[in-house]
């Protein structure tokens, strides 16, 4: 069994458990290749997708994973519930718990919200993204995709490009990759990099070409307009000019660098359409690996008898 009951984040997560999840995920990849893509492992398990923030892709990915495992899923999105009427977070959570749920997959705009949820409910909690803090399942599918491509994570050189300070994908990737022995360099506008980020063991460069020379793979982040309170980036053409993964840039770099993107993409801003659709990009593999790794996480966390008093 995994050491932690929940998956709230990858900070301090045991490397052996990340390894177990990735290995199990590859087995579920095989299930996703069968004519009938279903296993009965989580039959009778009820999982709520508690999304306080809009997300189609992550929610669909989780829903598919749950259904492929034969679990029963219920979706809750903030706009359609009494949260608008002023019901508190605590009451919403406890109402759901009272309906005997086995697991909650939660996305919330506030950092620490899934941890806060553990105060109110007993079920297994999986963080599907808490504000600008962590998005552990994304980092796991990213690492699984890198593992698939390179056969290892230790010593791998990964560049993360973009708005780091507002990116939960970046932070979870930094934690996960460092635990698994990879090297990470960040690249993006200086005002979008957290001041103390070097204390997490990563480097920073403002030169995208330098990072492309160095890296084995790039994880290209979306420029998130909705997270930026004020105009932190002067214009999209300025961003593309200095940090965009354009076709020309890719052509100028002789080596075969792997391109990743968590989606959704702003084609023509942080990444050119040609690059996203090209051979070096593994973006669609990431999507498939997303379902497989979420299946693995749900399988490993929701299986097993509840120990008395847990």
């Amino acid at each position: 069994m995994l050491e932690n009951k929940h998956l709230l984040g990858l900070e301090g997560y045991p490397g052996k458990d990340i390894q177990t999840i990735i290995e199990t995920a590859f087995n579920f990849r095989e299930v996703l290749d069968r004519p009938i893509k279903k296993v009965p492992s989580l039959q009778g398990v009820t999982i709520v997708n508690l999304f306080f923030e809009n997300s189609t892709r992550t929610r669909i990915s989780f829903e598919l994973a749950q259904k492929r495992l034969s679990a029963d899923t219920v979706n809750f999105s903030a706009s359609s519930s009494s949260l608008k009427k002023g019901e508190s977070f605590k009451d919403t959570s406890q109402n759901i718990e009272a309906m005997k749920i086995d697991a909650v997959v939660m996305r919330h705009p506030t950092p620490g919200a899934p941890k806060h949820l553990t105060n109110f409910i007993d079920s297994v909690i999986i963080n599907a993204g808490d504000g600008t803090h962590e998005h552990p399942t994304q980092a796991i599918l990213d690492m699984m995709s890198l593992y698939e491509k390179f056969g290892k994570l230790k010593g791998l050189k990964v560049g993360i490009i973009g708005d780091i300070i507002h990116s939960r994908v970046a932070l979870s990737n930094i934690y996960g990759l460092k635990i698994m022995g990879a090297e990470v360099t960040l690249c993006g506008p200086p005002n979008l990099i957290p001041k103390n980020i070097s204390e997490l063991g990563v480097k920073y460069s403002k030169d995208i070409d330098e990072v492309m020379e160095w890296a084995d793979a790039l994880n290209v982040l979306r420029i998130q307009k909705e997270r930026m309170g004020r105009g932190l980036v002067p214009s999209t053409r300025e961003y593309r000019s200095f940090f965009g993964i354009t076709s020309e840039r890719l052509k100028n770099h002789k080596k075969e660098i792997v391109i990743m993107h968590p989606g959704p993409m702003n084609r023509g801003v942080e990444i050119d359409g040609e690059v996203a659709d090209g051979d070096q990009a593994i973006i669609l593999d990431q999507v498939l690996n997303g379902v497989a790794s979420r299946m693995a996480i749900l399988y490993l966390l929701c299986g097993g008898k509840k120990v008395e008093g847990e």
Partner: protein, 179 residues
């Protein structure tokens, strides 16, 4: 603990040969037969059957392996994660005669899980079961079509199979726990 050798390497080899003859005799046209070994030890046994049948009639049967972990009916009870070896069936089972191969048949739950999982790969025309050892004590209505050896066991006894491919030698032991 008391350990008795029930079958040695030679006995196992002869038994597998006999099973192959039975399979061929029972099914006529071998070309529609596929062998699916159940992890762990069902896999090397299925490989030996594949080689032997090829020797006997010159037909190389398609072979795959099945990991029933995701189809177990006791996953929610277990506190440990069983080691997953992975399922590898790279062909359709539609209209095929599937021979499931395992080392020991006991409660029948492994076979039930295997039958469940096979459904995901197509609709076989027939499924048959070949085991090296049948030790009785079924908990489900499952019967093997081809049995290497019947070893009835009492309470406090169990059967241990070792194979060259997975352990260091070929043998079948009867283990009796002493009080």
């Amino acid at each position: 603990m008391e350990k008795t050798v029930i079958m040695n390497q030679e006995a196992i080899s002869r038994t597998i040969t006999r099973l192959c003859h039975e399979i061929i005799e029972n099914n006529g046209d071998c070309r529609d037969i596929v062998l699916i070994g159940i992890h762990n030890r069902g896999v090397p046994i299925s490989e030996r059957i594949q080689i032997k049948i090829n020797d006997l009639v010159g037909v190389e049967l398609k072979r795959g392996s099945l990991d029933i972990t995701f189809h177990r009916d006791d996953y929610r009870e277990r506190l440990i994660v069983p080691e997953i070896k992975g399922t590898d069936i790279s062909f359709s089972l539609n209209d095929k005669i599937v021979i499931l191969v395992d080392d020991v048949l006991y409660s029948g739950r492994t076979v039930r899980a295997a039958l469940d999982e096979l459904n995901s790969f197509g609709r076989a025309s027939k499924v048959q079961l070949a085991v090296l050892v049948d030790r009785g004590h079924r908990e489900l209505p499952i019967k093997a079509d081809y049995v290497g050896k019947n070893i009835p066991t009492h309470e406090g006894e169990h059967v241990d199979v070792t194979l060259k491919e997975t352990d260091d030698s070929d043998s079948v032991f009867l283990i009796r726990d002493r009080d």
